[in-house]
Amino acid sequence: MGTYAYPKYTYSRPTELDQPDHKQVVIVGGGLVGLTMALDLAKRGIGSTIFDDDDTVSVGSRSICQAKRTLEIWDRLGVAAPMMEKGVTWNEGHVFYRDEKLYEFNLQDNPDSKFPAFINLQQYYCEEFLVDACAATGLVDLRWCHKVTGISQGDTMATVTVETPDGTFSQTCDWLIAADGARSEVRRQMGLEFDGQVFEDHFLIADVIMESDLPPVRRFWFDPVWGPEQSALMHQQADNVWRLDFQLGWDIDKAEEMKEENVIPRVKRMIGDDTPFEFEWVSIYTFQCRTLDKYRHGRVLFIGDAAHQVSPFGARGGNGGVQDVDNLGWKLAAVLKGDADEALIDTYDAERKAGADENILNSTRATDFITPKTPVSEVFRDAVLELARDHAFARSFVNSGRLSLPKHLDQSPLNGADIAEDGIRPGSPVPAYRLADAADGGATHMIDLLGDRFAIVIAGGEVDLATMSDDTGAKILVLGRNLPDPDGRLQAGFGLPDGGCALIRPDQHVAARWNQVNTVQIKQTMQNILQPVAG
């Protein structure tokens, strides 16, 4: 018996069967990433229509590790609170080799953070909360049992063919966002190929329900003595569901391995004979590390697993997809509102392709360490693990997955002027600094104040807030005035001299830093961002 009651969302006969219309934004796929996309656009006043071929959330726990940056983005979208309440918070990982624990590590790199390094929350819960949040905006038209089966496009719009239980219709839109996952029908219809690597290995996921007083940490085993598996992973999720993940190897009989009589002994070897459990979900998966060459194809934009895929080691799949949304949302909204040139959309491609390449690099390295491909590389790995038992330096070589972090957009074409080596450089996300005192509206952290539009952080001075805000259209935050900084920590963090300033993009990444406030310069940089040179 499962712990989760899957909601059944209502299908309605589409009015487009009788009266075709045109939409600004259509999103194909109402999963974790597609829903976040719709919510981000809605928060910026842009309506969208989601076509999903199902009438419920994702089946099975699937993506469970929701990273700090994802939580910050969901917080900006107003949906982090129920996730935090339901999820299992964790910061620590424990690494085991054969019969002993090698070491522990802590992923919380910033004690000031508003959020933990991770929460574990089943994808179905995340999607349910996102559906509720989308519905509450009044700007997201969620269409269940609407299956996209065809696509074509011209210079200024895309057209999709949509099948429903009541018939088929054509839907035109200004922009089509493909968020339809690893088996993307949009990608298939457009004949686009992935580039990358397919790994020859199988992994078994057994999500089990059990009572346990084990602390909520990530546990990873290399060559556990209790089983024939080459590696194994254990995570606690909400509702006393535990994710047990076993590496099976390539030459297996999947149907045989899925049989309960074969899964039960595996689980018992890991958790012990005396702990009662029930199965919640069992699945066997393989994985790929690969990406599309580009994510913008005319009026079609690819996000999440439809654009790129990674191994699960590092939790970079769903979290990477949410970072795609964070990058694309403000750009698409600015273009649709007429505030930006269409060339801004091309920078989504440049910035997030770099993010995906980084994720794929990390994911591939982790996979190669966890599953050595030759006897020699296995000796190397074992040498590292044996050294890591007693020596901290060797732990830096141990790779059970480099866990998801925000991407620093160092090579972004949108990065402007800079003044120093210190502090948050252009292209970097603003850390979640805790404020010394609660600020306007009860904000406790820097990211609460930044919001989702341009912001300018100024290190003191006599700036007229209202005038400058009117002039630039940005939110003006002056350290020591409307941004408490009694100990100078924020100023040092931003690397600003007295009177200096930083321009922050609507996705909370630093765009530029200057030694002094020059409104003309700032406005020119904002203009360069919104009207980038095409190509």
């Binding site: 006897p375 020699v376 000796v379 190397f380 074992d382 040498a383 590292v384 044996e386 050294l387 330096f393 060797a394 070589f397």
Partner: protein
């Protein structure tokens, strides 16, 4: 990652090269091949951490590969 550091390949930096070489051989010669390889890997990693210079290490690796191909 290729190294650009200049390696001191034509200068003897060890105080007693014979003694070190003898110890190296004594250490691995009676080991099974896998254990010998693992010991050399550990030695490489310990030395790499001691050197601590990515560029020097990359140049050293390049040089080792090049010597194999010579």
């Amino acid at each position: 990652m290729s190294g650009t550091a200049k390696l001191e390949m034509d200068t003897i930096r060890l105080g007693n090269a014979d003694a070190f070489y003898e110890r190296l051989i004594d250490t691995v010669q009676h080991m099974p091949e896998r254990d010998a390889l693992k010991t050399m890997v550990k030695l490489s990693l310990i030395l790499a951490n001691q050197v601590g210079d990515d560029d020097v290490l990359a140049a050293a690796l390049d040089a080792a590969v090049a010597e194999n191909q010579a």
